[in-house]
Symmetry: C2
Subunit: 392 residues, 2 copies
């Protein structure tokens, strides 16, 4: 007799991230796939751990870290007190908790499309339907055709598009949510990686009426291996989120909390962050130059003003999942665009995401060269096939 | 307009652990409440972290740690290979993942009663109904009145009772599950804390047909603050569990994985474990002696052969949740028995759980003295009330 799985389990597909990263980690593979920070950016921790840190701790997180984060969030314009802050085992956990808070089978979630695929995966697992919106819908003032349980948004250096909302767009989105008291779930892991001047005030800071959940991460500016993030939320959500957190993993790693607090307080913090930003800016500029060299006739893209990703809209309507199979065979990984869209249809979107932060300059050069060559081959074959089809 | 929460959120009650520990952590409070290891038992880590450990890692966990755990589990009699092992962010996470795997609204879960209350909380959150069983039901050979989606069991030094199944009972349980191919979820966080000789072979090691999930923890013998545990499972469950893990928090803390592997490989590992066991055995014996001094006329209990807890069955049918209010006012915390039972009724069970591993000898002495005095006061008042009621 076969075990009976939960009904929602059938909604949980094999993750494309997982499958790709499994291949991308092979030796000699140049990976543009995962959003990995550069190893050279990691701090060298001075590890003298106080023994208290090894004991069980509070579900909400250690007070000293929450107090410090509260100060930083108030600086960003969020009206918070320390008791509104919950430390997370990485911001992926925030997505799981918020999904548990709101989503039943059939619950409507408003989301950008494309957006962070592992958020879509979790929302879908709990039974969400999606009401997609774009920054253009936001500017038109009416992004929601149906009242959603909440709106999920990454306004700053979005994953995968790299888009950064202007202040006008941030205000328009907050007004649209306030109008119907729609809760906002703002995911903000990339905000510190800004390479050009741009608006970064949280959407949640503009809200007048809607309750909100804002989350951030230490994976991008400190170290992903520490698995630490945080959320701040309207008072009405906090007790629920804390209970959900406790049921999920009791509390977050205290060694990581201690190390992160130490890093946040370190006198070199600003200088360290500035050095990372400078290094990533250089990588981005090199990447953009190489893209212009090899992809001008193949794709459109905007040079991202921050974050980790270039988002390419190809000029030929090919399925980038098939392209991936062929570039992997040549040692180059990237992320096909399809799984970032809310639709679950296998429609090819002719989009792809390139992380520029991890590869070295020479890897970027040779990897993009291989990718463009494979893309050209696909385009030419597609042309041949199309011509063959139209002149049988 | 109020936010609409998920239907299952109403099932998630405020956790009694949380509320009690919040009070129990106040200065000068003697706590018998939480299952906290003694701080003196923590290792002093030699922290020279390789930078690779700070990067994102595989969802299943780091290979070297999984390989090492696999060797240990094969020694215990579990038929596993490395690819069947998943590293968890503490074994609480295993409960969340297994609940997601199996439980829809109304799904039947077989469970001991009383049992680990935070497991009941998670199962209930996902919509489980419970089919309770006792070790006595197991010995009678027919513990399941209804076919459950899985059977949850803590056979070794159970939380809260401290009970340890005999080999005969372990075999009987595995036969009962095999008969109807009922998946077994075996939770085994206390197995290394054995103070007297007893059977500890996993129930899963006896299964012939049923698929299974076995989980363990490093919180009890290394350090809870590291938030690290693991599970091993039948091949059919592994891909599902890995996807659920990824959706929950991408992967577990890699610094903790590295530290735990280091501790498992350390030449002093056995000696360190033996010293912890010897220290806890002494604490248990002292605790038992003090209990005999103050509680002989108040309660029944078995001296536990391992684990962290004494489980007291009181001779007077009082509500220990009310008793707790009064002992807290005198600076003593314990865990009332009620929330460990599968029923959600507020029926008083006249049971309570005392963790003996955290308090010092003098704290145990004064704390148990206060607890017994309060209990006596309750008993005498109850007698007065009863007499007043029967002779109005």
């Amino acid at each position: 007799m076969e075990p009976r799985f939960s009904a929602r389990l059938t909604a949980l597909q094999a993750s494309p991230i997982r499958q790709i990263l499994a291949v991308a980690n092979r030796p000699h593979m140049i990976s543009f796939a995962g959003g990995l920070p550069a190893r050279e950016c990691f701090p060298s921790f001075d590890l003298k751990v106080p023994p208290a840190v090894l004991q069980y701790g509070p579900t909400e997180g250690d007070d000293a870290l929450r107090e410090r984060l509260c100060e930083d969030l108030v600086q960003l314009g969020l009206p918070v007190t320390t008791d509104q802050i919950v430390i997370l085992s990485g911001s992926q956990q925030g997505i799981d908790l918020v999904a548990k808070l709101f989503i039943d089978a059939g619950t409507c979630v408003a989301s950008e499309s494309p957006t962070y695929l592992a958020a879509l995966q979790v929302f879908r697992f709990f039974g969400a339907r999606f009401a997609p919106f774009t920054p253009a819908d936001v500017e038109n003032g009416n992004p929601f055709r149906e009242r959603p349980a909440f709106a999920y948004v990454i306004p700053t250096f979005q994953n995968p598009t790299g888009y950064c909302y202007s202040d006008a767009e941030r205000k328009a989105l907050s007004r649209a949510c306030d109008r119907e008291t729609i809760p906002v779930f703002e995911d903000d892991p990339y905000r510190d990686l800004a390479y050009d001047p741009c608006d970064r005030r949280p959407v949640c800071a503009y809200l007048q009426k809607s309750p909100w959940i804002y989350q951030g991460s230490f994976s991008k500016t400190l170290a992903p291996g520490l698995r630490l993030g945080f959320l701040a939320a309207s008072q009405m959500f906090v007790p629920h989120l804390v209970r959900l957190k406790q049921a999920a993993d009791l509390h977050s790693n205290r060694l990581s909390q201690w190390l992160v607090l130490d890093a946040l307080k370190h006198p070199d913090r600003e200088a360290r962050l500035a050095a990372i930003v400078e290094m990533y800016r250089r990588k981005r500029d090199t990447f953009d130059r190489v893209l212009h060299e090899y992809f001008s006739d193949l794709a459109h893209w905007e040079k991202p003003r921050g974050g980790l990703f270039f988002w390419l809209q190809l000029k030929v309507p090919i399925d980038t999942r098939l392209l991936l199979d062929s570039t992997l065979a040549h040692g180059v990984a990237f992320m096909p665009g399809e799984p970032f869209y809310v639709g679950s249809s296998p429609q090819p979107t002719a989009t792809l995401r390139l992380a520029f932060t991890h590869a070295s300059e020479s890897e970027a050069l040779s990897g993009l060269k291989i990718l463009s060559a494979q893309l050209r081959r696909f385009r030419d074959e597609a042309c041949v096939t199309n011509r063959a089809l139209s002149h049988p």
